[in-house]
Structures are given as C-alpha cells and as structure tokens.
Symmetry: C2
Subunit: 109 residues, 2 copies
Amino acid sequence: MTTALDPVPMCAALADETRWRILELLGEADRSASDLAELLPVSRQAITKHLQQLEAVGLVEHERVGRAVRYRALGAPLSQLAGRLDTIARGWERRLTRLKDLAESLTDE
Amino acid sequence: MTTALDPVPMCAALADETRWRILELLGEADRSASDLAELLPVSRQAITKHLQQLEAVGLVEHERVGRAVRYRALGAPLSQLAGRLDTIARGWERRLTRLKDLAESLTDE
DNA sequence: GCTTTGTGCAACTCGTGGGTTGCAATTCGC
DNA sequence: GCGAATTGCAACCCACGAGTTGCACAAAGC
C-alpha cells in the first residue's frame, strides 16, 4: 500500500498561483529554475523555493545535467491525491442522499 | 458546462489541518459552529471563520434553524476538483511516458 | 586560467491567515 | 417580558509564507 499520505501538505503546495504556473510549464517540458524565472515575473530564488516545496510533496522531481538542474512535473502523486479526495467526497455525498431519501420516505407515505 | 473554476481557492481551503477536522465532522453529521467548537481545540469564532472560507469555495452549506446555524459538508465540488486534478495529472504523465518510449526506441534498435 | 553562466545559501521585508478576546444582536424557554 | 444561549462583528496579536537582494560556489566555454 502507498501509506495514505496526508492531503494537507500537497493541497498547501497547490494553493499558490505561482506554483501552478510553474507546474503548468513543467507539465509541458523539463526546465531549470533559470528557465522558469525568465518565463515568470518572479526571481529565480523565489522559483527555487517553490520548486523545493513542490519536490517535498512529490509533485516534481529534478535531474542534474552539468551545471543545470532540470525539473519535471509528476502526475502520479497528483492522481493519487485526486483519488483520495474523490473517495472522501463520495462519503459525504452518500450521507446526504441517505438523508434525502429518508426525508422523502417520511413525506411520501 | 460548470465554468471550470480555479483550483487554487479550494486547494487553499483544503490546506489547513483545522479545516479538515471540521470537514471530517461535517461529513458525519450536520453541526453548528458551537458544536464544532466543543469538539475542537479552537474558539467558536475561529471555527466560524473557517466555515465562511469553506462555504466561500462551496465545500460547505448552512441552514438556519431557529437561533442555530447548521452546516454540512458537500461532496460534489470536491469530486469536481478531484476530476480536474486527475485530468491534469494524466496530462503530465502522458508526456513522461511519451518521452520514456522515445528513449527506449532510440536505445533498443 | 579566466570569464561567464547557473545554482545554492542567508538575511531581510511585508502581507496575509489562523487565532484570540470582547461586545452587540438575535432568539428561544419560561 | 426576561434571562440564557448562540450567533455576528470588530479589533487585535503573532507566525509563517511569498518575494526580494546580495554574495559565495561550481561548471562550461574559449
């Protein structure tokens, strides 16, 4: 099993506009922090911090190529999070439909 | 169509441990802010703020019952978010498998 | 070897978000 | 109608996160 990790850290990583922009760009192609800094209106150091956060929750991985460090977006952990969220959501919804059905069975008869 | 809302605000709402505790409790039963304050180690006012945030992104709805205000967790918007995240994730993963296949086709032959 | 290009690390500012307390307003029980 | 319970609103504290600048370090290019 995959240790059912806490959704909070990954959600926190996904709760920032700049990091989504980064992820979007890394979903298209591998890029370095410097590349990203040219494409986005923030400093390279800010980008680096974001990349570290993204990597800490597994949404990104890096590969050293000479003096450059290339990053890429990883879909698997995001899919895993999506699965967990959907499971939770269905649990809540199941309860609501149960309540609704109960209410109807009381008024119908 | 359902206007493909921005995932950032909802992820931000989900990026807090206390809000998850609240959601968990509201997934079990309808409860008021006061009820939640008794079950969690934070003040009622803090709970109220969290509930407002959760409601602002559609994860929760409220219903006035006399002097009490009861809240409940809504699964549908969370499922919708999960769907969006999974779609994005699959996009990234598709690109990675394409690259891997390409690399193999270059080394195999 | 020396310059250039790219990365890593540290200190600092600033805004916002989670939390608190205090008090006014509303509604139920009797 | 009055007291008790709940909710609503406002001001305030504090920590953390996003961003910056500055400088040291490493690896190519010529």
